[in-house]
């Protein structure tokens, strides 16, 4: 018995591919701008200064972190769309496509948990000892930053698969994939953040904040743009394949009847 086939819902692919830019915009404006993390309060600040920061900016941080927690899930949906496009290069049993989907899904967890911790700190700051607020602030940073290896697996899988694309004009250009490797390389020094309160390797530092975060931002934006375009291209490819198949069938039928 021939297995039943279902038409591909490219509209859904396109919709979820757009979740990448939605995540980036939400995170940038809510977590970065509104909650005052561009740049964040420094690791060198003492407990009283961190508590004062949370009390002074309480409402902005509360709104920013609440919306960031919601927006974090869009990264998962985007990761699923990227994975679907990857399977068209790697095949339905592709291991790297699965790693990408898992990587994107699990990346959401530290983002959402860290934002939840900072949200709690902003709500409870007036009633808490400064040391507790300080601990919550650091806890958030350790979770959001040091889980980078999960995202590294995701980026590595995406870059490898799209580099293997044998189309004359690949779905995702090579430079984006090589930028993915740059992003992976930029993540590793993040492991140094527990050791430094100032300088480029502190969590607010030139390297571990500005470079590590923004190479990732650029990568997500670039992959999103090309994956959205890729969905349209795949739809055209499938249409052409279906069309040529139909033409072939007509030709065979015509030959038989003749």
């Amino acid at each position: 018995m021939k297995p039943e086939t279902f038409p591909t819902d490219y509209g859904m692919w396109r919709l979820f591919a757009r979740c990448g830019p939605i995540f980036m915009a939400t995170f940038f404006f809510m977590w970065g701008v509104l909650a005052g993390n561009l740049p964040p309060a420094g690791a060198y600040l003492d407990a009283a200064q961190i508590k004062a920061h949370y009390i002074d900016n309480g409402m902005a941080i509360t709104i920013g972190m609440s919306i960031s927690m919601v927006g974090g899930a869009f990264y998962m949906a985007w990761g699923c769309a990227v994975s679907q496009v990857m399977r068209r290069i790697e095949g339905p049993d592709g291991m790297l496509s699965s790693i990408e989907m898992m990587g994107a899904t699990i990346t959401c967890a530290p983002v959402i948990i860290a934002c939840g911790i900072w949200l709690t700190a902003s709500i409870e700051a007036p009633a808490l000892q400064p040391e507790i607020v300080h601990m919550l602030y650091w806890l958030g940073w350790m979770i959001i930053d040091l889980a980078y290896m999960v995202t590294t697996f995701q980026i590595f899988a995406v870059s490898i698969v799209f580099l293997r694309d044998t189309r004359e004009k690949p779905l995702v250009p090579a430079w984006v994939n090589w930028w993915g490797f740059v992003t992976c390389a930029a993540f590793f020094p993040v492991s140094l953040i527990p050791f430094f309160k100032t300088g480029p390797f502190a969590f607010q530092g030139a390297f571990n904040f500005w470079i590590a975060f923004f190479t990732w931002y650029i990568w997500v934006t670039a992959v999103s743009i090309y994956v959205i375009k890729a969905v349209g291209r795949l739809q055209i490819e499938d249409g052409a394949a279906t069309g040529s198949e139909a033409a072939h069938r007509s030709a065979v039928l015509a030959a038989r009847t003749a």
């Binding site: 090579a174 430079w175 090589w178 020094p189």
Partner: protein
Amino acid sequence: MTELISANHVESRRLPGVEGVWVFIAADMAMFGVLFVSFMLERLENPALFEQSRRALDVNFGGINTLILLTSSWFVCLAVDAAKRDQLPQVPHHLAAAFVCGLAFCASKAFEYTKKLSAGISMLTNDFYMFYYTLTGMHFMHVVAGCVVLGVLWNKSRAGAFTSDNRVGIECGASYWHMVDVLWIVLFPLLYLLR
């Protein structure tokens, strides 16, 4: 005739490897550039501490490591040149020599780190050593990755994978390895020699 000259001109101006590897090299060097600038800015704030700490580094180690990496880059050049000339048996020999140089660098660096750590000097000792360990550590990771790349290239070259018509892979690896070399050539004077 004009077409031949034009074709030769295009060939001589061809970018080695693939464009993507140059994106990686440019971005990676820019990241190191940020760290070099950070080092210089910190140094300006505390020149006495940086000078005192610098004097405690063993210049001989730095010098030997420089020679090792320059030699390995030379072997990589010979390997690419052999592939261009279709001297296929020579390619794996040169790559193996470059790989051994890479391992020698790793061994030398590990010995240097051990010596420093056993003397009680870690990256938490002061700002100079923070930069010393992180800059050389990141470079060390690049050397390790480069050794893996050289190992893969060596394995492929034994099967005659790289020829004058098919040398993109070896050129990508060579370009990366030269970047690792160039980074060390900046790092060595910055950390060991700059007074």
